[in-house]
Symmetry: C2
Subunit: 440 residues, 2 copies
């Protein structure tokens, strides 16, 4: 992509209301634009990252055998009355009357809706387990939206739902998602720690949230540092294997957010040198709530004895739009964002510092075409701006590598390649750019 | 994908309220499930087709140099008051008050919102043309939703917006979208006829809608049959070329929907043998409305003389969810759907008629693995159902090819390959399945 054709409205000034790094940098890097309180438009650079995260989440759901569906954003109130949550949910639910004065709502979550789909479709235990997920915009009418897309009102979430015949099968499914989440977050360049959690408005018996360490997190977290060494899931993991040993290995170490924290337990079970008490950002949450929804909503299947029994359910969420912010919180410096390779909007930025020089333009164009041919996604800064403006813009948007075509590039046929994270630069022959980028 | 792991709730009976083929078959093939009036969930088979269409639309927008963004579904009423459309839009607009009692709405279209993004970001004619698109759910609160997703309330649309310095530049952009639309619909296996159109609530000076011929269409259309021969856009078309000759070639032939039809003109300009009067389904609509939104919303840029002038705008819509239905309307028979290759949810279906036989299972598994290795997307019907049930299910869901593993397959090492469209079957050696499928 050539910068001259790219909609990238970077800002020089940090907007006054942006308190944390991700909010500040997402606005400054032209990733998002505020539409109203807690509601944002995603501009090309932001959307590209959002889609990369979405695709990694999707790939891991698919690998775990979960079927993708897409439920609508607008739900009828009826099914929430069936489950009993319509009144419970309070003002965070955006309630709407349509032109026929029917009660509708913008879905904050989808337990009722997916249970309705399930009960119309599946009648026999032979068709279980049934695992469904969707990636859809949700709305929660937060009283005080803040931190940009980290606590917005309209947000993108992957939510999966499981239907099993009994508690044993349901626990096996729960373990599958537990491990799937560890693997997903690892691919995103994050160390997300699973912690026993309260179940809140979703309800249920068994629940974990996944948190990443961050000074700007909203939760106080307490954990045994040795748990961080566990987070290393086999890339070729087969989700059909027994995953209970992986899950239980995490339960050997203390890890809890404030709502579940017991100071006494923390003292007793964690040696002093392994104690960590810091802040965390929640990026995922999994729940098992057995028949909390299937009973009132009559989502029954016939078991092997021909008896109708309510299915056992769980739900499993990953905050996809929130992850964009969470990744920035965990990976930035004073000059801007530092994207992990897996979610970087472009793999490299090519900076032409002599954007008026015909020879330089021809040589940069050739480099750009070579990168395209090698399927290396490149943002080519062909704009006629000052060197300072170009460097600070490229640092701000945080692409992993920068190829700098400067004063000596024409006569020496070399460029500098800069690593955004380390700041390390290296002189590379133009003919060797592609192999250099590919071998990093 | 193995059918035993796939959420595909096919129905034997046609639901009573489904009047047209697409609605009937989408429900029966387990592609969608109704959530409330005019609102549907997309189940795995339907979602796969929706995404294929979405990706073709996206590829052609990207090829035409349009930048992808994503605006939120919930918009503030303020910007609609600025443009003057808030009161005009009537009851089709879903109006919402949030918990702070601010007036919000679920976007039925995005002219105001994109103009707001533009005016905050672009200040100089040097940054024009600026072309933006997004693919997002919209809501129009239809009084009588009908025909399934063809006239639903929550629907997926690609809408693009252009910003140019003057009318000449704006016309060049309009031509780009005109040709891009022809190419997009062609890739989807459709012959969409461009017709001069009324501008309706979007407004403006110049407008075309794109309609496909269908008995179940809601518009009466009148056209010169020779226009159908024109629809054949070069696959490697360069959108930077002058496209005005392509566009004007279409204007040589009469084509109009009822709202713009002139019987007198039709009589005068079309020889009897080329006259066609039938029904059509609208799948796309493009508008040029110069400064209708930029003036009231003060979306100005500085021109080369340093003077602030309102930009010239256009908008360009494709109904992505509606296209799923439109394609079915134009491609089905009495047994079910017949997908064009480009949007088929799977390229082939593999039917094991001996799903209890160990040898058959092993041989089918090997065929399935060969197909996966060759990157041929296959739905493997490994279920233990009757042959009749398997055949009618596979015909219903309309995959282009069926590989039928039957009674003689084990001893002869052959399968039948059936073409869904023609019904033609051919005996093929198992070792030659992949090359046979690839050469078709």
């Amino acid at each position: 992509m050539k910068l001259s054709n790219y909609f990238l409205p970077v800002l020089k000034e940090t907007p006054a209301d942006a308190e944390i790094a991700s909010h500040k940098y997402m606005l400054r890097a032209g990733m998002i634009s505020q539409s109203s309180s807690g509601i944002y438009s995603w501009l090309p650079l932001g959307l590209k990252v959002l889609k990369k995260i979405e695709n990694i989440v999707r790939e891991e759901q698919d690998a775990a055998g979960v079927n993708e569906i897409l439920m609508p954003t607008i739900q009828p109130a009826d099914i929430w009355k069936e489950s009993g949550r319509y009144d419970d949910y309070g003002k965070e639910m955006l309630r709407i009357n349509d032109r026929q004065d029917r009660e509708m709502l913008y879905g904050p979550t989808n337990e009722e809706q997916v249970t309705d789909i399930f009960r119309r479709s599946i009648k026999s235990y032979k068709e279980l387990p049934s695992l469904l997920y969707h990636i859809q915009w949700k709305f929660r009418d937060e009283l005080r939206p803040r931190f940009g897309i980290m606590r917005g009102r309209e947000f993108l979430m992957k939510d999966a739902y499981s239907f099993d015949l009994d508690m044993d099968a349901s626990r096996t499914t729960y373990n599958k998602f537990f491990v799937c989440y560890l693997k997903t977050f690892e691919r995103l360049g994050l160390k997300a720690i699973p912690m026993a959690a309260e179940t809140g408005p979703i309800g249920g018996d068994m629940s974990h949230e996944f948190l990443i360490i961050s000074d700007t997190g909203e939760s106080d977290i307490y954990f045994d540092k040795r748990i961080l060494d566990l987070i290393d899931i086999d890339k070729n993991l087969d989700y059909e294997n027994d995953l209970s040993t992986i899950v239980s290995s995490y339960q050997d170490f203390y890890a809890a957010a404030d709502d579940k924290h017991s100071e006494e337990e923390f003292e007793k079970s964690v040696p002093k040198e392994f104690k960590s008490n810091t802040k965390g950002i929640e990026v995922g949450h999994i729940f098992n709530f057995s028949s909390k929804y299937s009973e009132p909503m009559k989502a029954n299947v016939l078991n092997s004895n021909g008896k109708a029994v309510p299915v056992h359910m769980g739900s499993y969420g990953i905050g996809i739009s929130r992850l964009v912010g969470a990744i920035i919180e965990s990976s930035h410096d004073e000059n801007g964002i530092i994207w992990p390779d897996s979610v970087a909007p472009f793999a490299v930025g090519l900076i032409n510092l002599k954007a008026k020089d015909k020879d330089a333009i021809a040589m940069c164009e050739a480099v750009y075409q070579d990168l395209i041919s090698a399927e290396i996604d490149c943002l080519y800064d062909n704009k006629d701006d000052s060197a300072g403006a170009k460097f600070s813009r490229m640092d701000l948007i945080g692409l992993p590598k920068q190829i700098i075509f400067g004063n000596n590039s024409i006569k020496d046929s070399t460029v500098e390649i800069k690593d955004r994270k380390t700041g390390h630069t290296e002189l590379v022959k133009i003919s060797e750019i592609v192999s250099k980028i590919n071998n990093n």
